[in-house]
Point group: C2
Chain length 699, copies 2
């Protein structure tokens, strides 16, 4: 398979995208709305509103300068020697892994005073998009006439083949993904340069990175230095980058056109009303209560001491963030206006199809198929989440055990027949994560496992066969203790041994997590198979036909739902209405000093208490801009027309939380760290002149 | 005012009720549906389906034999010397108050071997309904032409006058309530005999009372001995009862007609769709996540040791029960079919009114008024719940402080002008609760207060004036520590001193809880005033006009929404479909033995482990019946046609949780302890032959 290099790929993929971008009927994109693939930017809209049209040089620069972080974040390459700018909250996993009771890098921060002091993140990888190739026709051909499980199997086989061919000859430095846009309407192969040696260069203390904590999260105004620097290495030395983005410490002004270039993880703007209702009920009845309960557990665990407290605080941050995200989505889904507008658009398309017998014959009734899939989804999704997504088995220990058990079964099979995550293309990532030596606290592992096992029993009831298979006659707490105290899964060497030993070693292991993973694996695979064939495959196949109907009808261009792939958003630095008042788009160090009460999460770390009196109180710290972003955009560079980095996106406001389903420019804002604040902090708070010089080389 | 004695009262009140019972249009009550006031039973329906019509003797017996417990439960008088049968879970507060680190009566149970050993519950009171008097005309006259705050004030003034007159001359032994049926369509004065000296006689261990714990809660089949015996005293001696209900240990058979006679706390079957949607959103976004978070805190706190563990376990039980109730209600409200059927009924009534100009003139547009009130409710209810309902200040300590602060201000005022809960009619109850000496664990108080203060900040945001007023510059945890460690509110003698000292003593107190309650009281009263006048008064006044419209239209008889007052439900012992299979209506001791795994909550207490081999394995333990019940019915006697006690209602099944909004006989079941199991436990497990003899005197 051909993987043409930039810029050819844009021309090729763009031709296919141009067809598909025209085909999703619906209200035209609002000004500043949209997460646009780089090969299909809304040039006319941008020109009309801002008198700016991105040229090939601009697009090339963004593509070369944009980084994608494992774990679902974005970043930017900001020096010729491999510096990557991202958010502090995007590297908390790494900071935790590099911490111990003696050195709490999450709480206390870190500065490498030399290259030699830079610390390798055990399992973090960074990728950079190299090319996009349209493979829609191949996917169409492979899946033609297939349904359910067959449809899924054909897609999986094609994915395995395309990604293997894409990586051929450069497996260690290449990642390839099959990306389905428009819920399967368009298929593209994304090829990435892979950096798997990523090192920590600088992280501020969490108290300033997440100043205001959960109370301020998703609010504006804000005063956070949610920034960090990593460095990508190759061959043991800093990677030499052909092109990178340059920091512009002057930042941007109110009303100025700005962009973000990042990897929004997922949106649901093209869901049908039936899907939106299923999601609403799932969030209200399952996800939000589950997160809230976990928050309570972690709040209480964080009152303890020592390692348990450290782990609980780290977990709490993620849980509280998820609660705001899920709560915001739920609020949007409960709003009758949202559902009514989606229903109206749906009714119009349905009437269009019904009036055309030939189209009806080709399209069928995708709404009915999706509705049918919703019944299956409602029946299966809680169980699928608990067992196959592993929510019943919170923590890495079970996840490692399952990976070992499944890898031993999958690796001997032909690539195209394996579970997706065990394909040749996926194995290196999986192996890195499995074998990285990272610290665990047994008490904390036991605590969260007991909670999640209890949740399993709460949701399914004590008489459910799954519950009986997992718990036996033990209480969740006793079972968790038995598993955690008896396991060696926390030991990377033991995992290495079992990985290498394969099926034979696995069969002999009496590690309780291995025994558990082994004992439920057949049933868990059957459950996954049912969920994929009765829910996911049906939904995707119907979505393709919906897209076809919309294409026939015509209508304004529309961007595809976010898929964790590189997208450009555009908008302007602008104020936002919050809780009844208009908040100006900038905050500064004067405001930070005023908000610091001394009580967590409004307490400044010692470095900032010492430095603040010396700093310019007018130095801008955070800003808000009308960019259409969502989770996954964290760490995206905020760019000006020159493609200079004027900020670092780290959050959205409360009004952005409905962004999963629609964009409303009146209330939706991205929140960014001001570029000048980052430079000033490195220079005057963290005394890192070397980093400043690398970021801002003399011209 | 005249308070006629039974049976006259039935004739009088019945006449008014007969009018009103005809006036709520809607689908006719399903067979076995309904929580019927004793003065308006569905005689024709009962006769038609079961060939049984309750005579005056039957009704009189039920009324004399039914008990209402403070805290929202039911019970029955079951001996001539004042024994009251209720649920174990209805007296957990008393059991906790009578416990200490040395004697855990909740966990270990209690049996009084003599009258002298019976232990007084510090603040539990029991009432028995004596008469019902219709006062609709008086309420109509008092509130005629009034709106909002004026409407509310007029109602409050009438309530104070009527209840004061009702109690005149027998204040210590009388309770009177103004009861609004049909959301204000019918007003009645309920007069009760009050027993304020209530003593604990027998309680089994929690492990058998709540066998299966939260996992089994609201499920069927069940195996719980959720029963307890209290005794009402007067003048320091057991009360001598003119009439009581008799236990029938043979129980009832499958298909047999049975009744429950109890005090269902509240239903929302007559809410408009606008109100149902507000409630749905409130449950999904606020109540359920709040409860889930608290569950997490308590789960974790219960892993600790000592007193904190004991308090946390007790709290956990209530929280988990609420989660199932709220979750079940939310599930019903998310079901599109429920809202559609309610909307259809609403549209029909609306069309009926619109077609009649004269009726339109009288009724106005109550739907629009209610919709307007919903906007106010959505704006205010979270804040009102936190501040005025005290959810931000979890625990008794703040509640005591507020009661003291408000009582000092309210008591000097004329009765009719006071806040409802400080009226002459309410003061004795309030004083009993305030001044009872009950144990507190400071660590536990601090823990739950810190959690609820954190919740206050989470919901309102750190910049909210309420948050700033309550927390100052402290974190929730530090503020909770400051309050709990500095207060004397846990000391009943100090509360007594401040109660007697009144305004002068309060003004001098520097107790941090008193200072807090004082500092927010003006604003909290203003908030309450707004909520009552903009939300509650508008909703109630509109509901009266809705009832008027429905009356004009005519239609089948309908029972009023539950109001915590005495109601009769009828149905039959019957199987129920649960999770796809039909569960027979009885469980027995053989099943209990099979389900006992030894791991909590499926572990039997020592008494039962020892006794079970001696007991008849075929002895029935729990049963299910198609009775329309809801929270507040806990402890209701299950009665046969002879008015004998054949069981003790303690729960509903999962299908009963939608009962707040509608009744579905196919899935909705009440769950009861079999009368024979209670007798057998007293005789053969707890060796209490005296109690058995008192319950089953030789004929």
């Amino acid at each position: 398979m051909q993987t043409p290099r930039f810029p050819t790929r844009l021309a090729r993929a763009g031709a296919a995208a141009a067809v598909w971008l025209g085909l999703l009927a619906g209200p035209p994109a609002q000004a500043a709305e949209g997460m646009w693939p780089l090969d299909a930017l809304p040039r006319a809209q941008m020109q009309q509103r801002y008198g700016f049209e991105p040229g090939p040089g601009f697009v090339d620069k963004l593509m070369q300068g944009s980084a994608r972080l494992g774990g679902g974040c974005s970043g930017s390459f900001v020096s010729a020697e491999g510096l990557v700018l991202t958010n502090h909250h995007c590297i908390t996993r790494c900071l935790g892994q590099l911490s111990s009771a003696a050195a709490n890098r999450l709480q206390d921060g870190f500065v490498a005073r030399s290259r030699a002091q830079e610390l390798r993140c055990p399992d973090l990888e960074i990728t950079r998009l190299e090319s996009i190739t349209d493979v829609t026709a191949q996917l169409r051909a492979a899946t033609a006439g297939k349904q359910g499980a067959d449809f899924q199997a054909a897609e999986d086989a094609l994915r395995a083949r395309l990604t293997r061919e894409c990586r051929a000859g450069a497996e260690d430095t290449t990642r390839c993904d099959l990306v389905l846009l428009y819920r399967g309407g368009l298929a593209q192969l994304y090829k990435y340069r892979l950096f798997s040696d990523v090192r920590l260069v600088w992280a501020p203390e969490e108290a300033i990175a997440a100043f205001g904590g959960d109370p301020d999260n998703f609010n504006f105004p804000r005063w956070c230095l949610d920034a960090a620097l990593l460095r990508v290495y190759e061959g043991g030395a800093p990677a030499v980058l052909r092109q990178h983005l340059r920091l512009q410490p002057a930042g941007a002004q109110a009303g100025e056109l700005v962009f973000s270039s990042g990897h929004p993880g997922g949106t649901d703007r093209q869901m049908t009303t039936a899907q939106l209702q299923t999601l609403r009920d799932e969030l209200a009845q399952n996800r939000l209560p589950q997160l809230a309960e976990l928050r309570g557990v972690m709040l209480q665990a964080a009152r303890g001491e020592g390692e348990q407290r450290r782990f609980a605080l780290a977990a709490l941050q993620g849980v509280e963030n998820s609660i705001k995200v899920v709560g915001g989505q739920l609020q949007a889904l409960l709003d009758p206006a949202l559902l009514a507008s989606k229903r109206q658009a749906e009714d119009e398309l349905r009437a269009f199809v019904a009036a055309r017998p030939e189209l009806t014959r080709r399209v069928g009734d995708p709404w009915a198929d999706i509705a049918r899939a919703q019944a299956a989804r409602r029946e299966l999704q809680a169980l699928h989440g608990l067992i196959e997504d592993g929510r019943a088995f919170s923590g890495d220990l079970f996840s490692h055990a399952r990976t070992l058990v499944r890898a031993a079964a999958e690796r001997p099979r032909p690539d195209a027949e394996r579970l997706r995550e065990y394909s040749d293309a996926s194995l290196p990532r999986l192996q890195r994560r499995l074998l990285a030596a990272v610290p665990h606290d047994p008490a904390f592992e036991e605590l969260r496992l007991a909670w999640s096992l209890n949740r399993l029993r709460s949701v399914l009831g004590p008489d459910d066969p799954w519950v009986q298979r997992v718990l036996g006659r033990l209480s969740p707490q006793d079972r968790a203790r038995q598993l955690v105290q008896g396991t060696r899964m926390a030991d990377a060497a033991e995992r290495q041994r079992l990985w290498q030993g394969g099926a034979a070693a696995l069969a002999q292991s009496d590690d309780p997590f291995i025994v558990l993973a082994r004992s439920i694996d057949d049933a868990a695979r059957a459950l996954r198979q049912r969920f994929e064939s009765e829910v996911l495959a049906v939904e995707r196949q119907a979505a393709q036909r919906l897209a076809l109907a919309a294409f026939e009808r015509g209508g304004p261009a529309l961007y595809p739902d976010a898929t964790g792939t590189l997208r450009l958003s555009y908008g302007e630095v602008s104020a936002v209405p919050e809780r009844g008042r208009v908040v100006p788009p900038f905050t500064d160090l004067r405001g930070l000093a005023a908000r610091a009460t001394g009580a967590s999460p409004f307490a400044l770390p010692g470095t900032w208490q010492a430095a603040l009196p010396r700093l310019d109180p007018a130095q801008r710290l955070n800003l808000s801009a009308s960019l259409d972003i969502i989770g996954g955009n964290s760490g995206s560079p905020l760019l000006n027309r020159q493609g200079e980095v004027v900020g670092l996106v780290f959050d959205g406001n409360l009004g952005s939380l409905g962004g999963a389903f629609s964009y409303d420019e009146r209330v939706n804002r991205a929140i960014a760290v001001h570029s000048g604040a980052i430079v000033e902090a490195l220079r005057s708070v963290y005394a890192a002149p070397g980093l400043v010089a690398e970021l801002l080389p003399a011209p």
